[in-house]
């Protein structure tokens, strides 16, 4: 998605190397996708349509 839009950036974070960050977002299982610093969350695999839906939801907050 980051490739598809200049509005989207992505960071794949190795949770065990950055435990403070993982704790901040209460990451307990992986993969765990955090949208806009916690506005949205997706735990487990993130199929495209579900991720789009979660982004939409988090932008409406």
């Amino acid at each position: 998605m980051a490739l598809a839009s200049p509005m989207v950036t992505s960071d794949a974070i190795e949770a065990t190397e950055f435990p403070d960050l993982a704790d901040k977002y209460h990451v307990s299982g992986v993969p765990h996708t955090v949208i806009n610093l916690g506005e949205g969350n997706m735990i487990g695999a993130a199929p495209e349509e579900m991720l789009v839906a979660e982004i939409q939801k988090s932008l409406q907050k």
């Binding site: 974070i13 190795e14 190397e17």
Partner: protein, 147 residues
């Protein structure tokens, strides 16, 4: 043969790297201070870069070159930015990796290099339409573990 990639993996990566189009720079940010995986990440990146002449590696010390780190919004080490060189223009698609992209994350990393090189997101038309309609920035942080 390197320490990270055995003969089998090397062959597989070389095969998928034959689809690379535009040159990609792997911009690796490291620090001398308390960085358990900076050395390993650098070594892994050197091995990956050696598998295609379309790839280059630039290693930046975030303390010595804080301006560049800031420019690429880098706050952690090791961090990787993938940058494409398309018709002489440097393209930053906002794709970062924090921590060593090894284990499970390695294939995602290799695929990201290919997508960046080809500038092909590989998403549906519906998703593209949604992304084109975005009025505010969206930052995704995807937490993974190597195992």
């Amino acid at each position: 043969m390197g320490n990270f990639l055995d003969e089998n993996i090397t062959k597989q990566i070389q095969e998928v790297f034959s689809s690379l189009v535009n040159p990609v720079e792997i911009l690796l940010f490291t620090t001398q201070k308390d960085c358990e995986y900076c050395g390993d990440t650098r070594e892994l990146m050197e091995e990956v870069c050696g598998l295609s002449d379309k790839l280059s590696l630039r290693v930046v010390d975030i303390d010595k070159d804080a301006e560049l780190a800031k420019q690429y919004h880098i706050e952690r080490s090791p961090s990787i930015a993938l940058l494409a060189d398309v018709d002489g223009a440097r393209i930053d698609n906002g794709i970062r990796f924090s921590g060593i992209p090894a284990g499970h994350e390695f294939s995602a990393f290799i695929h990201s290099i290919i997508s960046v090189s080809r500038q092909e997101p590989g998403i549906s038309q519906e998703t593209q339409a949604f992304l084109d309609s975005l009025q505010t920035p969206v930052h995704l942080e995807i937490f993974t573990t190597p195992t």
